[in-house]
């Protein structure tokens, strides 16, 4: 469900947060627009910055051209569920932008999430920034499901990182091999809950590595 867009970097970095907030009615959108994105690393033509946007979203993010993010969403026919899925997609793209730019405090993902979701994503992004790494290759998010429990909507899905290769953020030099076996597969939960204003907010996000059942 993701494809590359030829949008300009300038347009992406200036218009994005506002558009995302307007479209999604996001909680937390009262915060300032995203911080300037960290400079992308040198490291050859493969690391030339590009802009990626999801087909049905105006969200535009900065992700290096040598890193492909595939988010396999299929419409459910239920408008509410489709909205949760679309917002999860946007959160993932914002997360990947922060990871790719080694920016744990990137304003985009922070504008799309609240509470524990922000803290957890910060923690996950910090793993990359502290290691001085960014991902290259391709990552795939798939098998999305939505589950309503009480006042919470959980969006579950798999992540396949078997084609993701870490490189040095500074030099672009390869820093390891792609994960193999079940270690390459993660299980995500993104949870939405209505805030005091009645708007659905992403309150929780987690990723557990080693989900064997995502391999089949």
């Amino acid at each position: 469900m993701r494809r590359r867009s030829p949008l300009s970097i300038l347009a992406a970095s200036t218009a994005l947060p506002v558009a995302a907030c307007l479209l999604a009615g996001l909680a937390g959108c009262g915060t300032p627009a995203s911080q300037p994105n960290a400079a992308l690393p040198a490291g050859g033509s493969g690391a030339t910055p590009s802009v990626t946007a999801s087909p049905s979203s105006t969200l535009a993010v900065h992700i290096p051209a040598d890193y492909h993010v595939d988010i396999e969403l299929n419409p459910t026919g239920d408008p509410a569920q489709d909205t949760f899925l679309a917002r999860t997609r946007d959160m993932l793209m914002a997360y990947e932008q922060a990871v790719s730019s080694n920016a744990p405090n990137d304003g985009l993902y922070q504008s799309l999430t609240t509470s524990f979701a922000r803290g957890n994503l910060y923690s996950m992004i910090s793993v990359f920034s502290q290691a001085g790494e960014r991902p290259t290759g391709s990552v795939r998010f798939y098998r999305f499901t939505v589950k309503l429990t009480g006042k919470v909507a959980d969006v579950f899905f798999c992540q396949d990182t078997s084609k993701v290769v870490p490189v040095s953020f500074k030099t672009g030099q390869r820093k390891g091999a792609a994960a193999t076996g079940s270690s390459a597969f993660s299980w995500w939960d993104t949870a939405f809950k209505k805030n005091s204003g009645g708007a659905w907010a992403i309150v929780y996000a987690s990723s557990l590595v080693g989900r064997e059942s995502c391999m089949s």
């Binding site: 910090s126 270690s183 080693g210």
Partner: protein, 347 residues
């Protein structure tokens, strides 16, 4: 949770984060696999699964007639604080929590936790905080946290919070007096561990012995015999273990109960189920194809098996144990060719 042990922790080593130490050991170490991180709030249990299990949850088998636990109360642990469930330990643990959220620039979360657990402000009775901060000096109890299986979501977590009678999302830890579990919310014990193991047990059956073999041509109206000696073709005993490190462990064993075969072509009976005895031997059974396959085509035959998972109980606690059922375990269909009997006429 995390990083160090991809699936199991709840709060993590913020101290390492603050010290600038990259927590990149273990399975979720770097850009290879996203997951966890050096801090944050994670609902996943510390319980580890080993043996023949679906790592990371997601078992495709259904529990038959029973419901595995989703969330429970588990002794608080994490951040390298051991133990983290005593008042002093919990204080040290919470210091790490505060540090993480300050570092993450999430002051509102830090402040909410501090107000509840350090100051005792607006705390619900269910939390059990009678002597803030952290029930310092209070004996006869321990700090617990809600923990959930990988298959549970934040909604399940929130439901447990509601069951405990708290309305504040930041009330994440609960002081339980020893021997006084809260009503309606399970506290981890050997039986719960066994259920968790049973729900995640992985079995890998193959195909029993068919005569004629499945890859040979079958004959219309001639029985195909199905046999399987104990322990062969993947119809054996599997062991799964659930462990709360350093505290509790439970082991279950899964054994085949029955295996059922159906075909896309007509056969008699239309579905045949073969059962296993206590020694693991399959009782011989048979099926008969009733019609030949059209030229250049084949039928498919499908296998699905049911398994019984047994926990021997906890003699020390007087728990007798149980046997639960999981399944069906469905194998990919295989093609089978059937022909009419060929008459051989000699001269």
């Amino acid at each position: 949770m995390h990083v160090m042990r991809a699936r199991t922790s709840r709060w993590v080593a913020a101290a390492a984060l603050l010290a600038g130490i990259a927590l990149t050991t273990g399975t979720a170490t770097n850009a290879q696999a996203d997951g966890g991180g050096p801090g944050g709030f994670w609902i996943a249990t510390h319980v580890e699964l080993s043996g023949s299990v679906w790592q990371g949850g997601g078992s495709p088998y259904a529990p038959v007639g029973w419901t595995p636990p989703k969330c429970w109360l588990e002794l608080n642990s994490g951040y390298g604080v051991d133990p983290a469930y005593t008042p002093d330990g919990f204080a040290a643990y919470m210091a790490q929590v505060y540090a993480f959220y300050l570092h993450a620039q999430e002051d509102s979360i830090r402040n909410a936790f501090y107000a509840i657990y350090h100051e005792g402000q607006g705390v619900d009775a269910a939390v059990g905080l009678t002597n803030p901060p952290y029930n310092q000096g209070v004996g006869g109890g321990k700090w617990y946290a809600i923990a959930c299986t990988p298959d549970a979501g934040y909604g399940d977590y929130a439901a447990v919070q509601a069951s405990l009678g708290v309305a504040n999302q930041y009330e994440e830890w609960f002081w339980l007096r020893d021997g006084a579990p809260p009503a309606g919310v399970p506290v981890i014990d050997p039986e719960l561990l066994a259920e968790y193991a049973a729900a995640n047990t992985k079995v890998t059956p193959g195909w029993p012995n068919f005569s004629p073999a499945l890859n040979a041509v079958q004959t219309v109206n001639l029985p195909t015999l199905i046999t399987n000696a104990a322990g062969t073709n993947g119809f054996k005993e599997y062991i799964a273990v659930a462990t709360l490190p350093g505290i509790l462990s439970s082991k279950v064993r899964a054994d085949p109960e029955s295996v059922t075969f159906t075909s896309s072509g007509p056969m008699s009976p239309s579905s045949v189920t073969c059962t296993f005895d206590a020694a693991g031997n399959m009782q011989p059974c048979q099926l008969t194809f009733l019609k030949s396959t059209p030229p250049d085509t084949s039928y498919t035959i499908t296998e699905s098996s049911m398994w019984k998972v047994t926990w021997d109980g906890d003699p020390g606690a007087g728990e007798p144990g149980w046997t639960r059922q999981i399944g069906p375990v469905v194998l990919p269909a295989v093609p089978v060719t059937v022909q009419e009997i060929q008459s051989i006429v000699g001269h």
